[in-house]
Symmetry: C2
Subunit: 348 residues, 2 copies
DNA sequence: TATTAGATTGAGAACGTTCTCAACTGATGC
DNA sequence: GCATCAGTTGAGAACGTTCTCAATCTAATA
């Protein structure tokens, strides 16, 4: 009686059932034709031994490991882990497992990971790349990004110059609408805080500019302040900078969720309340946002994850498939951190 | 010139170098003896083709997949993703990759995952089990938990009745100290909110009781309220219950971080401020805790992750190794959410 | 009864690696 | 000149699966 303690092989099953391993293969693989009597014998042997095929051996033979890899900055990031959650859920439906690779937003680590997971023969890769706008991939490693032998899809972040499928939020449009919302409340001096190097943030900035221009408000570049990814409490420093250098600021528009927490800290330090003293609008939902009633552009992370996995499987089936970008609508969730600007209201 | 587009095999390298694959194996595996001349030829062929061994084939041959699996409730949980972060970092140092399995705190999914990762021949398993105190593992699946063929370690949560290594915080002691701290401030009516079914929470409750008893304060069982894992906003409901049924409550002690956010929400709803109206002490650090200046028992997640991986590798090398439990100190980080109770202060 | 189509079955190759074993090479000592 | 030895090398088995191909069996037909 098998209790899982030993790992049995297909040969053990064959011997116990008194057939060849080819026949066992037919029964468990459910192909070819097997007589009812034999099938039953085999099934009994299988459950007797608790036999489960060795996925590694299958992988070698089938050139498929039933594994997808997710390469991302850090699983500690809320957006990322929500994405991985959705991805893993979707992958499991197809009996796939998910390998996690943190790059710590570091180019070398991203490359290292991409190399390892290649040699591991993963069936597909979902990449939230650290390659930011302006950075160039060394020729030596370019194959990691553009070779077609392993299906790969970019999620959330694009790499300019590499033609791959991309799944992302409709950053430009959602940002345009968020900005328009602020403008509609009466804000004309909207300070922007974000990590500009990310392709997503660039898109969000485009939307911001479009909304301002449409409203006839000049875009003041010194009101857009840039954060480095690695900087600790960047949000705090930048909010301070913005509020010091531009006391006319009536609204803060934060383009990365990671920055928002310490922006709040700075507001608290200055005794500024939202929305009375300053309006606040940020990207990506979070428990904090709910608790603080912060108006937020919420990305549909579940949908992005689901779409990414679906597309990856399409690509695995048909690698020649035409490259394209899918945009998922992000939604402005209005809470209570934005209102008519005080100065504006007074002026009236 | 290899550009990674094709996957070359050891035979390709052998052919190019004009030697046998055995010799190539000797060179890249760095064993046996090879003449300098041959070694050079092989090295050249390797880099010419950008040859990287197929990990799957190695896995089949070596009975080692260079993979560990982490089975946990949900990667969206802050404690869990911080743990996975630490685990992955540590695993990478040893050229191991990490498979993520979310159980959604669901028994069936945990079993399903354990089965799959077994057939995948992972080299080791780190399990944050959903098996809570009182639940019994069906005999049929017991082998998934106690069979010695794959090294497995429990992290954070113990399963009573299964003898496995366990890495956890010193829950009882840290909780004892946290409670003592509240008592030292003058609190005698400390309401406790937690998901009692978890082994960790049970330990924390023990520490709480010990501190009360030591101070001669009777333990009022109706001041300990229990949350179900799956309940939405359980923290809010339970805080409300506690404050309604026990208006004498001067401090809330929250044993699970997941509950704390909505506890805050309820305090906000009632217009209660910490620490003036009520003191608040919680487990597990979080950006919220920092922002709200909440006094917190902080677990050393990095250390737990590191210890877990180290121990797992020990076990992989020596499966007979004696089972034992490692406790990692959790630390009380005092911020500003606890003070002398108002009523108490007034009474004086 | 002989023939044949179709159903059923097993032997064995292949996937890409590691590593044992045996064989070969030169050089040294007698 | 021959035996010995260390250093070097290659053939091929093994890991556990899938699946092709050919062989065997069954039953139905002429």
């Amino acid at each position: 009686m098998g209790n899982g303690n030993q790992r049995y092989t297909i040969d053990d099953v064959a011997k116990l059932a008194g057939v060849s391993k080819a026949t066992v293969g037919r029964v468990i693989g459910n192909y070819g034709s097997v007589s009812e009597k034999t099938r039953k014998k085999v099934m009994e042997a299988v459950s007797e031994l608790d036999y489960v095929p060795n996925t590694i051996a299958q992988g070698l033979r089938n050139h498929s490991t039933k594994t997808i890899a997710v390469v991302l900055g850090s699983i500690k990031n809320n957006y990322c882990n929500a994405l991985v959650y959705a991805i893993e859920k979707e992958a499991m439906k197809r009996d796939y497992n998910v390998l996690i690779c943190n790059t710590h937003e570091n180019l070398d680590k991203e490359i290292k990971h991409l190399q390892t997971i290649r040699s591991r023969q993963v069936d597909g890769i979902l990449l939230i790349s650290v390659y930011t706008v302006g950075k160039v991939i060394p020729d030596k490693y370019r194959y990691l990004y553009d070779s077609p032998d392993i299906p790969m899809i970019f999620v959330d972040r694009n790499i300019i110059g590499i033609k791959k499928d991309l799944i992302e939020s409709n950053n430009e449009q959602a940002s345009y609408e968020a900005t328009k919302y602020l403008i509609s409340l009466g804000h004309r001096n909207i300070g922007v805080i974000g990590t500009v190097a990310y392709s997503t943030v660039q898109e969000r900035l485009k939307g911001y500019r479009r909304a301002l221009q449409e409203a006839g408000i000049p875009v003041e570049s010194s009101m857009i302040v840039d954060a480095e990814y690695s900087e600790n409490r960047a949000g705090q420093r930048l909010a301070a900078k913005l509020l010091d250098e531009h006391p006319e600021t009536t609204a803060l528009y934060v383009l990365n969720n990671t920055l928002c927490g310490t922006v709040l800290l700075e507001l608290k330090r200055r005794g500024l309340k939202t929305p009375d003293d300053v309006s606040l609008l940020t990207w990506d939902d979070d428990e904090i946002n709910e608790l603080f009633d912060i108006t937020t552009v919420v990305q549909k992370v579940d949908e992005i994850g689901k779409k990414a996995v679906n597309r990856l499987f399409e690509l695995m089936e048909n690698p020649q498939s035409q490259v394209y970008t899918q945009k998922v609508d992000a939604q402005l969730v209005i809470r209570k951190s934005c209102s008519v600007p005080k100065k504006h209201a007074e002026r009236k």
